[in-house]
Amino acid sequence: MKKRVLRVILALVMTVSLITGCGAKEEPTAETEESTAIEESAEPAEAKDSVIIAMGKGSEPASGFDPAYGWGAGEHVHEPLIQSTLTVTTKDLEIDYDLATDVQVSEDGMIWTVKIRDDVKFTDGEALTAEDVAFTYNTVKATSSVNDFTMLKEAVAVDDTTVEFHMEKEYSIWPYTMAIVGIVPEHAYGPAYGSNPIGSGRYIMKQWDKGQQVIFEANPDYYGEAPKMKKVTVLFMDEDAAFAAILAGQVDLAYTAASYSEQTIEGYELLSFASVDNRGFNLPAVPQTTDASGNVIGNDFTSDVLVRRAINIGIDREQLIENVMYGYGSAAYSVCDGMPWYNEAAEVSYDPEAAAALLEEAGWVMGTDGIREKDGVKAAFTLMYPASDSVRQAMAADTANQLKLLGIEVSTEGVGWDVAYTRALYEPLMWGWGAHTPMELYNMYHTVDGGSAVYSPYVNETVDKYMDEALAADTLEESYELWKKAQWDGETGVTQDGDIPWIWLANIDHLYWSRENLNVAEQKLHPHGHGWSVVNNVDQWTWD
């Protein structure tokens, strides 16, 4: 008996020492800081033109560096580095040329004619011609599973430097698509292209250790300005591993989350980049029904427009950003804040009294338990969030706390993406969006096939009409105006005074630990995806 007790106690003691042993990781920082300082003084002398970057494991392209399988042109858009693109987006997110020298669109908007440079070579020595461009676009149209190319009918090479895009429908924002599709060589393209990419871009992929790292070296024959960073190493690691690597001084730049922002590390600074990486939730805008195939669609509570308006002004976005993101974020009022096609009418101010008044007006009266009621129905809904995303979980929790004050009972639930899309048709879900193209608006608010919008039930013919017109517009500037009108034209739209089928909460600042003497040049507004967009301009980075 005594022995048993002793055994139990010993086991406990061992576990304690084991766990606290792990927990006390912070203590030896003095030591690691010293070694950081040593490495730092050594590094700039010998390695002034190379940089080591830590990204999340999800940033590693699963199917390799092939534009047809999402490299650059996937769910998370960025410049493909290895390949050249026809156009590029500028710092203001307008369009400039990369390979293209001239872009023209026909009167009816159905044919885009693009002239390209004649002095560009792939890194294997072959010249890049219009044939390669046409091949690339026809390939991505046929195979891309991650991006939509249904507006393109076919790409045709007219001569060596001219390519024509024949469209299925008018698509005025085609230049934004051309900014993310990397041009691949027709002669060296095959199933293995993803792991051995050949391009004409700023960098050559030298080595890829799957699951660990990828190494880029500057392309010596690059037609543009020669990259200042000659070697770029990207490591893929989890958030806490990236932080540990920074503590150990092993990487120069590492992604991090707001929850780490209160730490200070000698020799490193915290960089914060504004983004259109927004978070918001959908409010199904139709009453609950069951469609022909048995799917539940719509939500009785959120189908009331006054309820949606009350929720939109009943959330204090600044407080949410302070609570959840330690202040590293900005209030969002649309899916495209700060973009050339953003309509400022979307902005609202926090007004809990007005929100309560709206709910009263809609007939939702405060019950004895602090939850509003109407005809015996409670003002309540479930707010889902992707189970793996702790920031969205915290945002959902804070939203629930804030709406509770209005008398709306929100319960949160973490879900996997396998069920999230179908459930979002009748229950709000905390989404993340944000891309450098107005198509985001289309995806969010435009109806499909005469039904309702894809991600959350919503129908407004006027909004549809403006977006159709925007896609058919002759110039980008004209289309920007129409995109703005789709958001709010003075009478109807998707903003507070309109139908407000989505509530936008915040744009998340992308945070990075960076060595103090690393200069990461001027960054574009980052899109959704906390990864490759930071290296869009890695060729211009410098060491001080």
């Binding site: 008996m1 139990v8 304690v16 702790s390 949160t412």
Partner: protein, 274 residues
């Protein structure tokens, strides 16, 4: 001081263990609502007088969260181990009494389930039943019955050859009567001990499957979720998020072990001297 009777000591240990576990379960149930409260004004607090286990990044009180998590684990363990042991009892008895064919089929099933790593099978079953509370309970219940079933099958096989059973047969007692009157009382201690010793397994498996993200949803106060969340914060020096919940989990499992072992000694005194 007079040395205390070993049997009484064992009894005390058993009652203390069971009492403590009951206390955790009740406390956890009482605090269930409080464990869900998110309050950003008190986030990332180290352990102090008011929050003895500290708070996490959403300002949740880790003490009530851990208690509720453990009580949920215990409830899941209770339910799953209960179902599991019933399966084990039925299959074990059937295998031993229904003849060769049935025996070989059931033995084959036992080998099959045992052959697949527990955690894998658990993930598969839990996922197939839509995760959450239901998925975990069904998953644990369907994977943990095998060794107990084997044990019971062996016991029954042995019992069938026992003299008093043979005598009862000769006296013309019906099969059901023999099973109920003569076999069940003999099997009960084995069964109960097996049931209680299954809890720690069930609880640890519940914690691990939730830790891996195939169990309960992350806003739930489950011990596996608490531990997996704490991993991220260890590098930041927030040790309290992992240490206290982890210790309490170990403690709970040890208590179940103590309870099971004590019960075995009480019901089957001969084994205490082995």
């Amino acid at each position: 001081m007079k040395k205390m009777n070993g049997r009484i000591l064992t009894l005390v240990a058993f009652i203390a263990a069971v009492g403590f576990l009951t206390a955790i379960t009740i406390a956890g149930t009482v605090f269930a609502d409080e464990a869900m409260v998110v309050d950003f004004s008190r986030k990332n607090l180290a352990p102090c007088g008011q929050y003895i286990f500290g708070t996490d990044w959403m300002g949740r009180d880790m003490f009530v969260r851990t208690l509720t998590g453990l009580s949920m684990s215990i409830k899941i363990g209770l339910l799953a181990a209960g179902v599991s042991s019933i399966i084990a009892f039925i299959l074990g008895t059937l295998a031993a009494t229904m003849g060769k064919t049935v025996d070989s089929i059931i033995t084959w099933i036992i080998d099959l389930v045992m052959g697949i790593p527990h955690i894998l099978l658990l993930i598969l079953i839990s996922y197939a039943f839509g995760k959450g509370f239901k998925g975990v309970v069904i998953g644990v219940a369907l994977t943990h019955w095998t060794s107990l079933a084997r044990l019971i099958r062996g016991e029954v096989l042995q019992l069938k050859e026992a003299t008093y059973i043979k005598v009862a047969e000769k006296l013309g007692k019906s099969k059901f009567e023999i099973a109920w009157k003569h076999m069940v009382p003999h099997l009960l201690p084995q069964f109960l001990v097996g049931l209680i010793l299954m809890f720690p397994h069930a609880i640890l498996h519940e914690a691990s499957i939730t830790f891996l993200g195939f169990g309960l949803s992350p806003e739930q106060p489950a011990i596996g979720i608490i531990l997996s969340e704490s991993m991220t914060y260890l590098t930041m020096g927030k040790w309290w998020l992992a240490v206290f919940p982890g210790l309490l989990l170990v403690f709970t499992v040890v208590l179940f072990d103590v309870a099971g072992e004590s019960l075995r000694k009480l019901l089957d005194p001969a084994s205490a001297h082995v």
